[in-house]
């Protein structure tokens, strides 16, 4: 009863698509190759004959596997390594830490969300989670692994209750008597982007990394944004109460 069901765990090495996917059943090393990438056999699901079987439908998911260069040492270089290192770095007993190529800014996902009639705090919470990267299994607190988020229609964001007239935004100039207080309405008339920025900044970590993360949030007033080249995708919001009830 205790064992991991072997029939369910079909182990894939979901390597990135640019590598040639030749299948080899054993991890043997041809001697004339300088670097070898071990691959598990590519498994194809045949058509399910009965209605009971399920298909592994991973097409919509974004399974980014962190760098899997299973580089075995070729035969003629084995003398350089100790016995324990000859099979490549130990990935199962050491916790993975991202290298520079795992968080290149140009390869991060861009998300877009329309803020019209969404509750401010719930929206900001989801945005902060995605910017910080806490939805990814490769999350690391000291490294920026998150995505970029574009918010459009920032002036139409909604709040519940009487917050429109009662929520106060305060700032201080540093001089005595220099406290400036504004209501939500007044700030929305003046600079609507600042409302969402203020909300998300409060939910990101405070510190050098937090300030760098904040720059990954792009808020715009209307429905247009200059980031079409990044091909942003729709931000998945799992909160059921984010939409303002009319």
């Amino acid at each position: 009863m205790a064992l991991l069901c072997a029939s369910t765990s079909v182990i894939f090495s979901s390597s990135s698509s640019e590598r040639p996917s030749f299948a080899s059943l054993k991890r043997t090393i041809p001697s004339n190759q300088s670097s070898f990438l071990g691959f598990f056999p590519v498994v194809a699901l045949s058509k399910p004959s009965s209605a009971r079987t399920t298909t592994l439908s991973f097409s919509k998911r974004d399974f980014r596997v962190c760098c899997q260069d299973l580089s075995l040492v070729p035969e003629n270089q084995r003398w350089m390594f100790e016995e324990s290192e000859a099979d490549g770095p130990d990935i199962w007993n050491n916790t993975w830490y991202p290298k520079a190529k795992d968080h290149i800014n140009t390869e991060k996902t861009w998300y877009i969300v329309d803020a019209a009639d969404k509750i401010l705090g719930r929206l900001a919470s989801t945005i902060a989670v995605h910017i910080r990267g806490k939805n990814l299994p490769t999350y690391t607190p000291s490294v920026d692994m998150g995505a970029f988020v574009i918010v459009v229609n920032a002036e139409k964001v909604a709040v519940s209750g009487k917050k429109r007239t009662q929520k106060l935004y305060r700032r201080h100039s540093g001089r005595p008597g220099g406290m400036k207080v504004e209501t939500f309405n007044q700030l929305q008339q003046r600079i609507p982007e600042r409302i969402i920025e203020h909300a998300v900044r409060g939910m990101l970590p405070k510190g050098r990394l937090g300030r760098a993360l904040f720059n990954h949030l792009k808020v715009y007033k209307g429905a247009d944004h200059p980031h079409e080249a990044q091909k942003p995708i729709e931000l998945p919001i799992r909160d059921k109460r984010v939409q303002k009830q009319r």
Binding site: M1, A2, L4, C5, S7, T8, S9, V10, I11, F12, S13, S14, A23, L25, P41, V42, V43, A44, L45, S46, P48, S49, R52, T53, T54, T55, L56, F58, R61, F63, V65, C66, Q68, I91, W92, N93, T95, W96, K134, N135, L136, P137, T138, Y139, T140, P141
Partner: protein, 125 residues
Amino acid sequence: MNKKEILKLAKGFRGRAKNCIRIARERVEKALQYSYRDRRNKKRDMRSLWIQRINAGTRQHGVNYGNFMHGLMKENIQLNRKVLSEISMREPYSFKALVDISRNAFPGNKNVVLPTRKADISINV
């Protein structure tokens, strides 16, 4: 410890703490106390990181960490959190299988995923 050893340990410190022995001695003592404490803290921090990574991985499949671990405990799967976090990063399909096992461990669960049969999987060589 003599001065030479202390200044050797003080490499990389800020300001006069790396040069002047009187300041370096205090800072090095503090640094050694911190390293003693943090050798114990490191074990806690690592476990917390594994749990956060597992949480993120399971939430991608609609299950949160607490329910996932409860299901694994019920099925007596004794994989530790370190290995589970590595599986969630490197072997996503295996991890999905684990999440399904954990979900199926509760009778009366509506989102039961049935395992695929070996007869329906063919291997292309």
